[in-house]
């Protein structure tokens, strides 16, 4: 067990070092996210003009939702993982994992965790710099059960995001070009993950339906827990249960794609 942990610890350290090479890319990306945040502030500020609440929440609560969403994206979102898996398959780099006692999913997951630690830490820098401007709009709910529930929700969100990206990367076994699949999926994930607007602003029937989809648990669910948009304990427990189901289901899909894909894979070269 310790030997297995040591193996992935080494991968984690190498992943950290590789991510630090791209520190400026992450920092620039985080800085550009603040431009998006400015757009969100202006749009929602104008939408709230003349009214104190939209969908049961005031302007500060709504803007807090988007600020928390922005920061968490850098800690738990999949960024280039689908392309990295795709490149490994296209270039034949996965061949080495077929010969070594390394599980490719765990290898990629470990690299993902190290990369998100770096990108998350770097994203905090521009946010901290902008904090004097953001602080008047931040309002977090009082200490409650929500925060405890948010911890497993965040872990499972990261697993869902990574596994979906991993599955899209594995499509390279069947398709030469997967970029269009990824960007098409990104549009769906962006909307149904609550990144464009809080999902609770949707019509009730659509919101209830979205709560059964994996996208709901990618970003919206943990952010809604942390910002107090979801408070009902029974609903939170049910949400954690559905989220766990999606983690297990997606892991199953990933395994299936990996084994089926390997049957199609041809390793060449010495």
């Amino acid at each position: 067990m310790l030997a297995v942990l040591a193996k992935y610890r080494a991968v984690f350290v190498v992943g950290l070092q590789s991510s630090l090479v791209y520190r400026w890319n992450f920092a620039v990306r985080a800085a550009f996210s603040l431009v998006h945040l400015a757009f969100v502030f202006i749009l929602w500020g104008a939408a709230f003009a003349g009214q104190t609440q939209v969908g049961g929440f005031d302007l500060r609560q709504t803007l807090t939702y988007f600020i928390v969403m922005l920061v968490l994206q850098f800690f738990i979102s999949a960024m280039n993982e689908d392309y990295e898996v795709s490149e490994d398959i296209r270039n034949g780099l996965i061949n080495q994992f077929l010969l070594k006692p390394v599980n490719y999913y765990l290898y990629r997951l470990t690299v993902f965790v190290s990369a998100r630690l770096v990108s998350g830490a770097l994203a905090l820098l521009p946010v901290l710099l902008a904090l004097p401007l953001l602080a008047p709009y931040l309002t977090l709910p009082p200490l409650s059960w929500n925060y405890a529930a948010a911890v497993p929700a965040l872990v499972m969100s990261a697993l869902i995001q990574f596994t979906i990206a991993y599955c899209f990367g594995l499509l390279t076994f069947w398709f030469l070009e997967i970029q269009s699949f990824i960007i098409l999926s990104l549009a769906v994930e962006t909307v149904l993950g609550g990144q464009v607007f809080p999902l609770d602003l949707l019509p009730r029937w659509l919101y209830d339906f979205s709560a059964y989809l994996p996208y709901y648990y990618q970003m919206y669910f943990p952010v809604a827990l942390l910002t107090g948009r979801i408070t009902d304990e029974a609903f939170i427990l049910r949400g954690l249960g559905i989220q766990l189901f999606w983690v297990i289901a997606l892991l199953g899909v990933a395994q299936l794609l990996w084994h089926r894909g390997l049957r199609r894979h041809t390793a060449v070269g010495g």
Binding site: F39, A46, F48, S180, L184, A187, V196, L202, P203
Partner: protein, 269 residues
């Protein structure tokens, strides 16, 4: 030396040859074409969905009703589609070509280098959704009960053209920096981030945001002036502003590009 008319005919023939090449290439990868068209369609849907959701909870954004806002968003999508269809791939490939030395290929071609790099490819999936964006604008105008005159529609077309020129110039300016910086990585994300503001009405921006996105960068003017033309008729000052901004940004971008070419160290021996 060829006459201007001969030159125009020459460049038209070159452009048509590129268009034919792009069409043939697209038809060779039909599934890819369909997927990318769907991608563009979905992202247009995302923009419209945001407007629909916001207006479920409010009647007005900075004095603009839902259908007026749809005219702005539709215009933004139309300019974006045209940019994607005509120039996006060409300009991003220029950045790569300058770094790799393949830019030599364009310098040796029988025509102006800027024309050759800007028109080499046409992305048909971008165009496919342009009529759809126009249909969104037309439907919103219909829902507002407006019947724009021929003059208004001609002015709208001209202003969309000016908007396209501004976007083209902005991209060219940014990509031309590779002549000095060797890398234009991350620009794509920044461009989309700034372009989000083109979906906002001018009245929503105040203070520093207004200075940046209304006056310093012509992001708002690109969509607001055409939209206001359909809604309220042609207005002199905004018209001069948009046409002037297009001329100014094109001049700056072409100047920077030409300066960059002088710095370009060919890859050939």
């Amino acid at each position: 030396m060829s006459s201007p008319r001969m030159s125009l005919a020459h460049y038209t023939r070159l452009w048509l040859a590129s268009a034919r090449y792009s069409l043939v290439r697209t038809m060779m990868f039909r599934a890819d074409f369909i997927m990318w068209s769907l991608v563009e369609l979905f992202w247009m849907g995302v923009n419209l969905l945001l407007i629909a959701v916001v207006y479920r909870h409010t009647d007005s954004i900075a004095g603009w009703g839902p259908w007026e806002m749809t005219v702005i968003v539709g215009t933004s999508m139309l300019v974006q589609r045209l940019l994607m269809g005509f120039f996006w791939t060409n300009l991003f490939e220029m950045g790569r070509n300058v770094r790799s030395g393949h830019f030599d290929f364009f310098m040796a071609q029988p025509g102006n280098p800027l024309f050759m790099i800007s028109t080499r490819k046409i992305d048909l999936d971008g165009f496919l959704n342009a009529p759809l964006a126009l249909a969104v604008v037309a439907y919103a105008v219909h829902r507002l009960g407006l019947q724009p005159s021929g003059w208004q529609m001609a002015a709208y077309a001209l202003f969309v053209g000016c908007g396209l020129a501004i976007h083209y110039a902005t991209l060219l300016l940014i990509i031309s920096l590779v002549f000095w910086l060797q890398s234009a990585k991350g620009i794509e994300g920044g461009y989309f981030g700034v372009n989000e503001f083109s979906r906002l009405p001018r009245e929503a921006l105040r203070g520093v945001a207004a200075v940046i996105f209304v006056y310093a960068l012509p992001v708002i003017v690109v969509t607001n002036v055409p939209a206001r033309t359909l809604l309220h008729g042609v207005e002199l000052v905004p018209t001069l502003w948009l046409v002037g901004a297009a001329a100014l940004w094109l001049t700056i971008a072409i100047t920077v590009f030409n300066r960059g070419i002088r710095r370009y160290a060919s890859a050939s021996s």
